[in-house]
Symmetry: C2
């Protein structure tokens, strides 16, 4: 991801250009901060948008699911969108209201990963993105589980990143004379204290990597995988 983000017809920023980003570091930061991707595909002529988990490295986005899933067919074009809502932009008019957000859209043809080493690497990236530390703590996939899992790889080649931050845009318009309050109402997602499975014997302690996540902000700048 050392090249600038692609500039195709689909990913060129036509509207609200001030929100468009072309630095691959911004793409990586949005991917690192997000938790759920929305996978879009075309199924019998209809769009279908499925929430799903994901992982990534420098060049590839990994998605996984059941081999029985309609949404994980290869060789059909997909659009994968990851969005973080960072807060409301409260303006002096309804029209100027907006959302502060970070969003990445990745377009491409995914391939089904068949190489056993890449399957394990991709699943590990996915697991570590969602639940850092768990891959080495819990039982890793069995041969049977691997056979029931489909892993898709999507190149991080054609992507669009949009980010909006800051106050409303109408502070220097005639609406500023209306005497109304305006500003931002930030929204923050926080990991809570772990809740033990009721089936768990009481003597098993919460592992440090899980306990350490409680109280931290999900998608904050210090999240795992965020750029330096």
């Amino acid at each position: 991801m050392t090249n600038p983000l692609s500039n195709t017809d689909r990913t060129r920023h036509r509207r609200l250009r001030e929100q468009g980003r072309t630095d691959p570091g911004d793409l990586r930061a949005v991917l690192a901060a997000g938790l759920v991707a929305h996978l879009g595909l075309v199924n019998d002529g209809w769009p279908m948008v499925v929430p799903t988990s994901y992982g990534f490295d420098e060049t590839t986005l990994y998605l996984h699911g059941s081999v029985a899933s309609v949404s994980l067919r290869a060789d059909s074009p997909v659009c994968v969108t990851i969005t973080l809502a960072d807060g409301l932009v409260l303006a002096r008019s309804v029209f100027e209201h907006a959302l502060n957000y970070r969003s990445a859209m990745v377009y491409g043809y995914p391939r089904v990963v068949t190489d056993p080493d890449e399957i394990l690497t991709g699943l590990r990236l996915l697991s570590e993105h969602m639940a850092p530390g768990q891959w080495d703590y819990v039982r890793q996939p069995s041969r049977k589980e691997l056979a029931a899992t489909r892993l898709l790889a999507l190149p991080l080649a054609e992507a669009s990143v949009k980010i909006r931050t800051g106050p409303p845009d109408d502070g220097d318009t005639p609406d500023a004379d209306l005497g109304l309050w305006a500003g931002e109402l930030p929204l923050v997602s926080t990991w809570q204290q772990p809740v033990p499975d009721p089936a768990l014997p009481p003597a098993i302690p919460v592992p440090a990597h899980i306990a350490a996540r409680a109280g931290t902000i999900a998608g904050g700048p210090d999240c795992p995988g965020a750029p330096d």
Copy 2:
């Protein structure tokens, strides 16, 4: 929304059936709790997934945007998905890891709203869903602003709702003997204290309807529009 949710080929729950819901109240609860929708459409044969705000009433989902936007054409089929990530499900194996979440998918052909009364009603529903209390507090749309805005209406007729809650599913499997901790790591989104626009004169107080939202949970059971 007094009828059960539709049961078409697209919305029938084929996999993970225990997560499927057929009560229209669940659809309404997910719509009330969500903030950002992911609008999926087909553009030149490619899927396109765009984050967007929304509003709704008993029968209709409203989306809006610029008349110049590619994603707001009518008479093309859409899939609108709203997802809330409620936490990680930390199991004893990588394979059984999951997300606790609430998700709604709505399929249909949106229509462009042209009736002036319905445009105002729809925009008000959208505004009040995103930022309750702002419609009556700030300047409402001018004729020129209305002309620049496209409002789409999508029937809440064909929808699928999935909800997962609770601990991992492997508490009664041989993996329970591994002696590993397992449980949930909940994720909660909280509205923060309002941040005044730097362009604001200092004498303007934060209105009560904004101040009251700070510290509350976004998408919690007491969010505006949630079912009784």
